[in-house]
């Protein structure tokens, strides 16, 4: 895709009219963090907003605002206020003697102080670790994004939509595929794989047997992704499909099919 083609897609997208393969491709570009695509979209949306902003102002009937304010009021009233923080961990008991109370108090304070000390250094260390991790993740993410952007921009790249099948009708996925370079599967709405099972992606070319393109798991939200290397011996993929297989995957599909899409 050249710059004008990307701007064409951005214009139609801003107008709300992009559909089919073009839409899949443009959304893949945005997802991949393509700056040209994002900047063009922002520019066109800005133009449309300006057009609307200089357009006709029509005062809505007051009933609309009244209904809104009433809805907000009833929502706010229904929302339970935050429970007061409990400061006493131990229910107060009748004191039999003064000293044991002092001792147990001192002991508790000491334990608390130690615990606080631990938790401070632990938090600090955790923060450092998580920052380092975050930086590494961001670097990895950036190079991954750059790779995806390059992939999506290649006119030879296909973006295939996979639809959810019977076991998970609301699942969906996009396969960004470029035979010589490989590709990326991004899936959403899959149920977590039962223990001992995993999802496996298959590439099917013509009448040939399905070729495994790797296994992947999904997060708690049902999202997952799988980078796919070039598949030797597979030139033109007709269908991508995802099945549920025993952990580690199998050389040939055996389980139920969850997602499928034709290129």
């Amino acid at each position: 895709m050249n710059a004008d083609e990307i701007r064409d897609l951005a214009a139609v997208y801003a107008l709300g009219g992009l559909d089919g393969d073009d839409r899949a491709r443009f959304e893949a570009l945005l997802l991949a963090g393509d700056r040209e695509a994002a900047a063009a979209l922002q520019e066109f949306e800005g133009t449309l907003v300006e057009m609307v902003g200089t357009g006709t102002i029509e005062v809505p009937p007051p009933a609309v605002k009244q209904a809104l304010m009433a809805r907000i009021a009833s929502e706010t009233a229904a929302r339970p206020s935050a429970a007061p923080v409990k400061t006493l961990m131990v229910p107060p008991r009748a004191r039999r003697s003064f000293w044991p109370a002092v001792w147990s108090g001192a002991l508790a304070a000491g334990i608390a102080a130690i615990a606080v000390g631990f938790s401070v250094s632990a938090t600090y260390e955790q923060r450092l670790n998580s920052l380092a991790q975050e930086a590494a993740t961001l670097r990895a993410e950036l190079s991954r994004q750059q790779a995806i952007v390059a992939l999506v921009r290649d006119p030879a790249t296909q973006v295939v939509s996979l639809a959810g099948l019977e076991p998970a009708p609301s699942a969906r996925a996009r396969m960004i595929w470029n035979a010589p370079a490989g590709g990326l599967l991004v899936a959403a709405g899959l149920p977590p794989a039962p223990s001992g099972k995993t999802y496996q992606l298959w590439a099917i070319a013509g009448k040939q047997a399905p070729v495994s393109a790797g296994v992947f798991d999904v997060d708690a939200q049902g999202g997952g992704s799988l980078p796919v290397p070039p598949l030797p011996g597979v030139d033109k993929v007709d269908t991508f499909a995802v099945t549920l297989e025993p952990a580690g995957g199998l050389p040939a599909p055996s389980g139920q099919m969850y997602l499928a899409g034709k290129s």
Partner: protein, 202 residues
């Protein structure tokens, strides 16, 4: 008063501050945000949905989303007004499509309904009669072919494929016209801005 507030638009920075306060559950901020922008949003929604009842429904839904989702507003992606108007437009088109689906089933085919409205002169007369001459104004400076593509997509909710079919043009032509049209629209709006013929200041 609503009318007074609207004639003195909220400063863009104020709009951002209002959204931040709405995110914290500030009802007064929400009320001011509504007074400042509901007229523009409603004008847009009415441009898409001619009937007042569904338009009011969409307006309420859009502002309800503002109340619920103000914390998700991201200033890097555009101004609060852009955020509001793009939502309003998307919701209005959703509504239009669902109304059309119903009409398609029970009343008349979409194409017929659109074709009727598409009679060039009748349309511009109707638009002027309905006080839509302003958007028309900026759009009218565009070559017809580009203007039609923008109107069909933005206000009528047609997809590029549907537009290509309706106009009997290749898909590539439709896309290029959309881009050229928006680029031209931008420079038209810039020029208007400079000469101070801003519609809101009439």
């Amino acid at each position: 008063m609503v009318g007074v507030t609207m004639s003195t638009p909220v400063d863009p920075h104020d709009a951002e501050a209002l959204v931040a306060r709405i995110a914290e559950g500030d009802r007064d901020a929400f009320s001011r945000f509504y007074d400042a922008f509901s007229g523009t949003a409603f004008g847009l929604i009415r441009r898409v949905l001619r009937d007042p009842a569904p338009a009011e429904e969409v307006l309420q839904e859009v502002f309800w989303q503002v109340w619920r989702e103000a914390s998700r507003y991201d200033a890097r992606r555009g101004s609060p007004v852009a955020w509001l108007l793009m939502r309003a437009k998307a919701r209005a088109i959703d509504k239009l499509r669902s109304i059309r689906r119903r009409e398609k089933t029970f009343v008349m085919p979409v194409n017929e309904a659109v074709a009727r409205r598409d009679d060039g002169e009748a349309q511009s007369v109707a638009a002027a009669a309905e006080g839509r001459d302003v958007v028309q104004g900026a759009l009218s400076r565009l070559p017809d072919a580009q203007r039609r593509v923008i109107e069909l997509a933005f206000f009528e909710g047609l997809t590029q494929t549907e537009i290509a079919e309706r106009l009997g043009e290749p898909l590539g032509t439709v896309k290029t016209r959309a881009r050229l049209g928006l680029e031209r629209l931008r420079s038209v709006l810039r020029a208007q801005d400079r000469t101070g013929e801003r519609a809101g200041e009439r």
